[in-house]
Amino acid sequence: MSKLNNPSKIYLAFVFIVLYAPIFYLIFYSFNSGGTMSGFEDFTLEHYAAVFNDTRLIIILLNTVIIALLSSFISTVIGVLGAIGIVFLRNRKTRSAVLSLNNILIVSPDVIIGASFLILFTLVGVKLGFASVLISHIAFSIPIVVIMVLPKLMELSSSLIDAASDLGASKRDILTRVIIPYIKPGIFAGFFLALTYSLDDFAVTFFVTGNGFATLSVEIYSMARTGITLTINALSALIFIITLALVVGYYVFNQRSRQIAETRGGQS
């Protein structure tokens, strides 16, 4: 299966090294007793201890994860349905108009999105905090999901759908048995990039948050003036390791359960 020749392997290795270099740099300095990301002095675990002693930081971290997971999930659902709707638009002009509207939030600078959402929320009377942050994250993640799902949908030939429909499949069946399985890779891509959007956002969250609710990005950016502490490095290192373990663990678990299912299927 793995038919990569050596130059290809070297190329991929290079890409991965570059992608992970800044993260290893951060992790390296999280063990620095010197207190900053310059001049490594001695090895220490004090910054890790500081993470666990800081209840506020842990609450912020958990909130960040909750917002990221929920907003990515909901925006994926809305985005996928929206993309399906766009594809079925007959009129090309309407379709491209809707697509352009879709992309407006991607091109708008965060400050503008943040400020206009804030105005919107105060007009409607939404209490700033968890709910307003969640809604905003859903809002700015939807377009990326649509963009990721669309090419897969475009490929899906309507003859397949027509065939299914001729065979008496209901609309619901067509959606769950034909469309969704086919565009699954696009759905996952959209979900993961929505996670990226949510975890990275600072400006929008800052404007729409309130009543003590904060995410990690807001906390980190506001530290910039007096210097980001290595506690944040240690926290990032922990996040990174845990994420990696979860992803690899889930993958292995999935592979194994699939293998078991396959062998069982073969036996019967």
Binding site: G35, S38, G39, T122, L128, I180, F206
Partner: protein
């Protein structure tokens, strides 16, 4: 389809569990007290131990939120939707907030510790009689430099020293129109509150000749750059210079003779505050000599609290670079609120300077 449903269920379950964990943590960290106050401050601009101490002493719970710029903070307070009881803006922001009726007057009778503050820092032009604000930290704008990277005997007694051809690609400037244009004005002997277009034009033209020496115009990263000896000279605030020296002891700081800026971060009570009593209690607590000393130790900026300075390490207090004597202070100017129009003009000139550098 089946795996999508399974993953969705897992996701929702995990989110639910985390929500539960947060509620547990919040309950355990909450002291059962009389009311809460929300404090809105720069990140890492207070010793977190002091917040706990305040909570224990007063039974008032502190909700702590942070901001990264005065302007963003003002937008949040003005727009409402969430209320803050105490915030720590810079002096020019206080003037603006006062104009827009965004502040509550401070009842001095509830702040007995106000007497700890050095009278020099009270009754300043941006807030006569300290009706709306109480000093938190203060500082100057000057030149941080690393003598080990420079020719022997290089000093920065004058702003013009920045134009020294030996400093090619060695100077980093802070990304702020008032500071950079103000430096240009100061170097010509003008006031840094000048609104005279000819003087501003002259200052900008002079700044353009600084271009070859400028390595970069950056924000808070300036501290990291200097610590790592990426740059030898920086135009920056004294607080940031102190942060640099804390790690890299080679660095020195100088406020040029022509004069410079004197800045303040003050505590204020926004008009939207819901716990005004608690806000006063918090401000008074922060002015306590021991508390202020501990806070100044943690943050590393200059404190206006005279009683606190007596408790601090004399070496810090006698350092004239950060606690300049009165005669030097006389040459410093506090920023006046020039109004948004003029701020726009400053920024246009600053942009012109930056664009000129690009080529």
């Amino acid at each position: 389809m089946k795996d999508i449903i399974r993953i969705s269920i897992v996701l929702l379950a995990v989110s639910g569990l985390l929500l539960y964990a947060v509620s547990l943590l919040e309950r355990s960290s909450a002291t059962t007290g009389s009311g809460t106050i929300s404090v809105f401050n720069w990140g890492e601009y207070i010793d977190p131990e002091l917040i706990e101490q305040f909570e224990e002493e007063t039974n008032i719970q502190v909700v702590y939120e942070t901001f990264a710029s005065n302007e963003a903070m003002m937008t949040k307070i003005e727009q409402g939707g969430t209320s803050y009881d105490v915030a720590m803006p810079s002096e020019y922001a206080i003037e603006k907030m006062k104009e827009s009726d965004m502040l509550l007057p401070i009842d001095h009778s509830k702040i007995p510790n106000l007497e700890n503050i050095d009278p020099y820092f009270l009754d300043l032009p941006f807030d006569p009689g300290n009706e709306y604000s109480i000093p938190y930290f203060w500082g100057t704008v000057g030149i941080a430099f690393n003598p080990t990277l420079l020719e022997d005997g290089q000093t920065f007694e004058s702003w013009d020293d920045l134009w020294d051809p030996a400093l090619s690609q060695e100077v980093v400037l802070v990304d702020s129109a008032r500071e950079v244009i103000g430096m240009g004005l100061n170097s010509l002997g003008y006031s840094l509150n000048s609104t005279d277009m000819d003087k501003l034009r002259e200052a900008t033209e002079k700044l353009k000749t600084l271009g070859p020496n400028v390595k970069a115009i950056i924000g808070d990263e300036i501290v990291e750059m200097m610590r790592r000896e990426e740059a030898a000279v920086a135009l920056t605030w004294s607080g940031q210079a102190a942060d640099m020296m804390w790690i890299n002891e080679d660095i020195d700081f100088s406020v040029p003779q022509e004069g410079s800026n004197l800045w303040f971060d003050n505590m204020i009570i926004p008009a939207t505050a819901t716990n005004v009593e608690g806000a006063h209690a918090f401000i008074n607590f922060m002015l306590d000599a021991e508390v202020a000393a501990q806070n100044a130790d943690y943050v590393g900026y200059s404190t206006p609290n005279e009683a606190a300075t007596e408790l601090m390490d004399p070496e810090v207090i006698e350092d004239e670079r950060f606690y300049p004597p009165e005669e030097l202070r006389g040459r410093l100017e506090v920023y006046e609120n020039l109004g948004l129009e003029m701020l726009g003009v400053y920024n246009e000139f600053f942009l012109e300077f930056k664009m000129d550098m690009e080529n």
